[in-house]
Symmetry: C2
Subunit: 378 residues, 2 copies
């Protein structure tokens, strides 16, 4: 299904019986050792696979052969048993691939606090390893509450990148987690790959926000196996990676639980790009802003209050807010209201405190969100 | 209506025509100059009355004679005009009371970005000043989306305290703002009053959270006029003030927009009291936790994830969660679910990272909140 797929990679998926039905176990494998970088959740209670993968990356010198992902069970809050299960999966897969256990990255998403069966996963590894490459199946195997699979790809000057993500805008209850896995056949060393990933993640996955929660399992990982033989220019590769990450991140915001609208927030004139992003995130996660957008209410007072609530010190109290090209503050509210009725809206907030700039994506807040999250039964 | 009312104070209210109907202008006046302390919003776009009152308190050496409050219009985002209106009200009231303008505290709550009429307010001052004391009317005049007025009072060793508050749990759209005004006839100097207020506010108004938003107009002010002739012991007065503030803060959480349940969250074993409060606030504002409570879902994974999401570094990953006396983590979920069905629930989260402790109050998150905030039309 992706338009471009990097050389030397294979992605497969199977039903391992972790979910009640459907694909629930996926594998990305490279035919050679790949450079890898990852960004992990900052949650104080990281799940077992997060701890194991972080440690593996460090001991392999940021080299990976494979990423193994299951949905249906987060393997979080399972204590030592959870660690043992994650490690058992790692060592079994490493043995079957003939690589070092530290070259395996594991990831889980689903219910918190339920034991995960190492047997079901390990028993499915031969089928995963032997299967024909099927990116579409992989993209489905990592879904939980997602209503559609999320894949993006790109080719620039012979270097191909493919990315997969899961997450349905809000981090769902026991179905927590935003995951993304990206593979490229570019030849890139670790410091450059790591820098590019952090830059891209800040401007993509860290620039969507739906309810402000961070899960125990969130992770974004990228593998670069060099199979194309091409070493892309750092700037070009960073832009390519960011583009793929932004496509995936926007898909997540679009798939927000109960969402009826997709919102792009542009913040300009902030003290710095980071400050702009912080302000954007604060506005994007304000329930008052998100309900106003749902109600197509051009209530700019809520936007001003949310900007002011970000904690970012501003040099001026001047502020302008536009929806498309219509000024909202003391502006034509009837025209603004008309613009707010669209399914996709762009709000631009102009401050007078510098040249910092950021774009943030979110969705509106509807009764559907309450319903999905209140009716969920443990 | 309050059981106790401090000596030397009078509170009155009138309809000044700022709202479409009903009481909308209130006055608290002391028959002598009172020591005063206040805590103001940290929003980067403070409303004109916030700026004027802050400056007045500084130039009067923290002395006040009166507090003038209107509802129906926040006088926020009105630029220089807004400042002029606030200052005009201050100088007119000062003239009529025969005090310095810097001894007047003004406060507004209501729609953002609409001009406030100084004439309507100034024209109503004689009736306010001349009226008979009516605390009940005052408590109503400061309401916006509140469904009930909020008053609390206390007497300890001859010192009386009365407090008024408005706020309906969430900070409402154009009806923003949490306000509270407290009067006591205790004789207390500024440093002590300021210390007591900050301590009490941290453990009351700063310990309720509904949607995490802070408005342009939030303020808590206390006046101590010494009319009782009694100088209370600092610790006793702080406890008395905190008690009144907690009663008011809990009323605000109970009156949350669309709320169906009142929730007390107790955090124990945190690195410090401040850390415990920060964790409690993070849990209390998590939409996933709040929808789980609405749905009576004993979904402890959401609670763990919210604790871990607070940014507070913990020394241990051990965590216990109780609803009343029922353990939730790997516990009896049927019993926990039964407890969650109550209208008032207490959740206790025990960490193993120190002796820090805090209590935080909140309410659940229902379709009613979405409806109230989406249907509001500018």
């Amino acid at each position: 299904m992706p338009e471009f797929f990097p050389l030397g990679f294979k992605t497969t998926a199977v039903s391992a019986g972790i979910k009640k039905s459907g694909l629930d176990l996926g594998l990305i494998v490279s035919d050679r050792s790949a450079t890898a970088a990852a960004v992990f959740t900052k949650n104080a209670f990281p799940a077992a696979p997060v701890l194991v993968s972080k440690s593996n990356l460090a001991s392999s010198g940021h080299r990976l052969r494979a990423v193994l992902v299951n949905s249906g069970n987060a393997n979080a809050c399972n204590g030592e048993d959870g660690m043992n299960v994650a490690q058992k999966c790692v060592s079994t897969l490493a043995q079957q691939l003939g690589c070092s256990p530290s070259e395996i990255f594991v990831s889980s998403t689903g219910v918190i606090g339920r034991p995960l069966s190492a047997e079901r996963i390990c028993g499915s590894l031969p089928a995963l390893i032997g299967g024909a490459s099927n990116p579409e199946a992989f993209s489905q195997a990592i879904m939980t509450t997602d209503t559609f699979p999320k894949v993006a790809s790109s080719e620039v000057d012979g270097v191909k990148v493919v990315g997969f993500a899961k997450g349905s805008g809000m981090i769902h209850p026991n179905m927590a987690t935003m995951l993304s896995f990206i593979a490229t056949d570019g030849r890139i060393d670790f410091p450059e790959l790591d820098r590019a990933l952090r830059y891209a993640v800040d401007r993509s996955f860290h620039s969507i926000t739906v309810d402000g929660d961070t899960s125990t399992n969130d992770v974004v990982a990228v593998l670069a196996n060099g199979a194309s033989g091409i070493s892309p220019a750092p700037q070009a590769f960073t832009a390519q990676l960011m583009n793929v990450c932004q496509q995936l991140a926007k898909s997540i915001a679009r798939d927000g639980e109960g969402a009826s609208k997709f919102v792009e927030l542009i913040i300009e004139g902030a003290p710095s790009d980071d400050a702009a992003r912080e302000i954007g995130r604060c506005v994007a996660r304000s329930p008052l802003v998100k309900t106003a957008i749902y109600g197509s209410d051009p209530n700019w007072g809520r936007l001003v209050a949310a900007v002011g609530n970000s904690g970012v010190p501003l040099l001026s109290n001047q502020i302008e807010i536009y929806i498309d090209d219509v000024a909202m503050i003391h502006g034509d509210l009837a025209a603004a209201q008309q613009k707010m009725k669209a399914k996709e809206i762009t709000i631009r907030i102009v401050l007078h405190s510098g040249t910092g700039r950021a774009t943030v994506w979110t969705c509106d807040f509807t009764e559907g969100y309450i319903r999905i999250n209140a009716d969920y039964t443990t």
